[in-house]
């Protein structure tokens, strides 16, 4: 499925021609052709590399966030947190992971074994697939598909099926309730989320994540979307937290009410998949917030100005490498700033009730998101210069 998606996407993907920037694929192909390979073979060799890279990046991202979560929660509660596994406890997440890998995989006696196994898989796959569209630089993206951000929205809508599946298959009322809550929450918050994204898309005239970031370059921090879409930013952030089932919206697994929701019966690697899925999703959401609203890979001061200030051409190889590296660092930095915010929120806010949650989604965020969309459209017509006319 992954390869088919990517190959057909690659067929339709068109290279953006705004500024050349760092193009690793082109360089790689050049090197391979220098070694005597055909262009097709070079491409075939290239294809798995970014995928593997992103998979590794996602898992490392999770490890880092888990460590951050433990440390920050400890700091919030005036504890120390993990400290013996590695310096400052940095190896603690790996220890956690190893423990889960070697735990016994239990399928409850009266559970539905098949669905019980497919459920967690269905939860993780869409999240990882969504990393396809996260750009770390002008050409540092697995696939610059034209439908970009829309792909993420539609893929994230598959997740509730996996949750419902595992909730149902566990044959446990807490699990079922958790699964139902998760699905209800997910479909309720997807709508304001999509509307908030739509406002951004309207400004950049494109669904492609690369184009969305490109539209925010030019004046450094001043051209980021957060200044033009403050309401959209808040809506998106709240909805993203709800989609990730983070506190204050972690009702599907509210431990006081539902033990652990749809995860109740899971152990070992299947539980690890849920765990992994939720953290990958968190990092992904943070990355997308930074792409949509915080200028993506853009440095707060435009790189062109800096290069001009030190008298270098933007196209010089050294500058290109530095720009690319800065891009990756900036994207990750912004994302982890947001992850930090999410963790702080988790350990400082109380959980909302299910009716409050649904009220917030349907009666508050949805109308606000609609108004935001309308206002954006009006502003785009009135000030085409500033709102991407």
């Amino acid at each position: 499925m992954v390869t088919s998606t990517i190959s057909s996407f690659a067929a339709v993907a068109t290279a953006a021609t705004v500024s050349p920037g760092l193009d690793l694929e082109a360089s790689f192909t050049d090197v391979m052709q220098g070694l005597g390979l055909s262009a097709g073979a070079a491409r075939l060799l290239w294809l798995p590399l970014p995928m593997l890279l992103v998979l590794v990046a996602a898992v490392v991202g999770v490890l880092v966030s888990v460590w951050l979560e433990r440390k920050i929660s400890a700091a919030v509660q005036q504890r120390i947190g993990p400290e013996y596994a590695g310096a400052l406890g940095v190896l603690q997440p790996i220890a956690d992971g190893l423990k889960l890998v070697f735990k016994e995989d239990i399928i409850p006696a009266r559970a539905d074994g098949l669905l019980f196994t497919i459920g967690p898989v269905l939860v993780v796959i869409p999240v990882i697939l969504s990393w396809l569209v996260v750009p770390f630089g002008q050409h540092l993206v697995i696939s610059n598909v034209g439908i970009g951000i829309f792909l993420w929205i539609s893929l994230s809508s598959i997740q509730p099926i996996g949750l419902l599946m595992s909730g149902y298959a566990s044959n446990n009322k807490y699990s079922l309730l958790g699964g139902l809550r998760a699905a209800a929450q997910s479909i309720s918050y997807e709508i304001p989320l999509a509307l908030a994204v739509l406002a951004v898309v309207m400004m950049s005239n494109s669904l492609s994540t690369v184009d969305i970031v490109d539209q925010q370059t030019g004046a450094g921090i001043l051209s980021w979307n957060i200044w033009r879409q403050p309401v959209g930013f808040l809506i998106f952030w709240i909805c993203a937290l709800a989609e990730c089932e983070r506190l204050p919206f972690d009702l599907p697994e509210a431990e006081e009410e539902l033990v652990a929701g749809y995860q109740t019966e899971y152990s070992g690697m299947k539980f690890a998949l849920f765990y992994l899925g939720s953290y990958i999703n968190l990092v992904l959401s943070a990355l997308l917030v930074s792409v949509l609203y915080l200028g993506g890979w853009g440095f707060p001061v435009p790189v062109e100005w800096l290069a001009g200030a030190i008298g270098q051409s933007v196209d010089a190889p050294v500058v290109q490498v530095i720009t690319g590296a800065t891009g990756i660092v900036m994207t990750v930095l912004k994302a982890y700033l947001l992850v930090f915010l999410a963790i702080l929120l988790r350990w400082t806010t109380p959980r909302v009730r299910i009716d409050q949650l649904l009220d917030l989604g349907w009666k508050f965020l949805l109308p606000i998101a609609l108004v935001n969309l309308l206002v954006t459209a009006a502003l785009k017509l009135a000030f085409p210069m500033a709102f991407g006319g």
Binding site: V18, N205, S206, D214, Q215, T217, G218, A219, S223, A386
Partner: protein, 519 residues
Amino acid sequence: MFLPGVLPPAVADSVSTAAFSPGLSLQLHAGAIAPEAAVLIALLTCLLVDLAGEKAASRWVPPLCYAGLGTALVLLALQWDGPQDPAFLGSFLADNLAIAFRAVVAASTLLSLLLSWRYVEQSGTPVGEYAAILLAATLGAMFLCGATDLVSIFISLETLSVSSYLLSGYMKRDARSSEAALKYLLVGSAAAAVFLYGASLLYGLTGGGTSLTEVASALQTSASPVTALALVFVLATVAFKIAAVPFHQWTPDVYEGSPTPVVAFLSVGSKAAGFALALRLLVGCFESFDAQWKLLFTVLAVLSMVLGNVVALAQTSMKRMLAYSSIGQAGFVMIGLVCGTEDGFAAMVLYMAAYLFMNLGAFACIILFSLRTGSDRIADYAGLYQKDPLITLGLSLCLLSLGGIPPMLGFFGKIYLFFAGWADHQYLLVVVGLVTSVVSIYYYISVIKMMVVKEPQEASDVVKAYPEISWNLAGLQPLRAALITCLLATAVGGVLSNPLFTWANSTVAGTPILMHAIG
């Protein structure tokens, strides 16, 4: 530097020239849908008024609906014989056929709404939403009458259908109503799916076009089995909408379980839209398959006339009887469709107009009866003439007209249909029509006999306990007005039917697709 160059230049060009050129609003000919716009405005105002509470809704919603539908009818009259430019870049065409059938639909909604108010309030269901959903059904039916593009046809068909499902299930605490809605929904969705399949085949045959003219020209050249398949699929949907046997199974149960005013609308408005769709698709599109679809429709018409009228004999419930009789009536109308002559089409239009008044008149009577007694059993009508002469008179006249007894409006409609059929050598259809008419007269007369001939002591318990006749409750006056309007039209319209004949003939004369099929 906010990146204007995201759009490729070629696309940006085509966007600015093709779709958003300043002349677009003129090309749209949006005036063609002015009547629908009036209905839509009424719909939205109803919903807004409904926010003020049930009291305000029952006070203000009726006049709003009258205003909207009345405006729509006036605008339709103004459109008559107007310019026939395709509106909305080929999605809609306001030819005389569309105008005539839209007028029938709008009038049937207006009359059904007049019959509804008391019924809806007495059952305790919200009035505002009821009116809004019925207006949405009207909107769908009106668009269906003029739609000239497969996508528009499908969307308007679905607007009509979805609203009809909702209306059938509107008495939600009643198991019969929920059952009706569920059956209607399931069968209707299947029919919609079949239509989509047929439409997709047609889309493929035209090589990516959805307008009916493109489909027609593509069908001229292709005679492969796939065309026949598309014809059968599309025809199945049309037959479902007009409830022709064997696509009629939903009708009796839906008619029995739905609120009676809704049945009144479904049996006239929805059916009229179905016939308009049939004319547009079959006559306008499948004319190269004339022989095939006419054969199929002959079979459908014979089956509908026979089964509808014969099964109606055995019914004990008034609503079920009218359901089966409406199946039979659809069979009569199909004679005109099969003829394909000027007289045939004119007779169809005339009969639909006549059917509007006589059927809605009959429904007005049975609604009034059930409001007063809470029954729709035929046996309960025994001896009614002594307690309620108005219902007795109205029901008798309307049923006689439905059966085709001479001085009534229905007689002229029916005789015109049979005349057109005979002139076109459809002897089988005409003979079956005549025989089944006699059958239908039998069961219509037996209702009348039940009401009129019974002695006072033979009257049913319900009639013996008949309440004092009063018209002072809100909602009964409109019902009386609708009843008397229908009654007058049915009784006097027959004698003064000449304008109707001219109207029906000029409908055909002002419709290019029909003239093309004739000439």
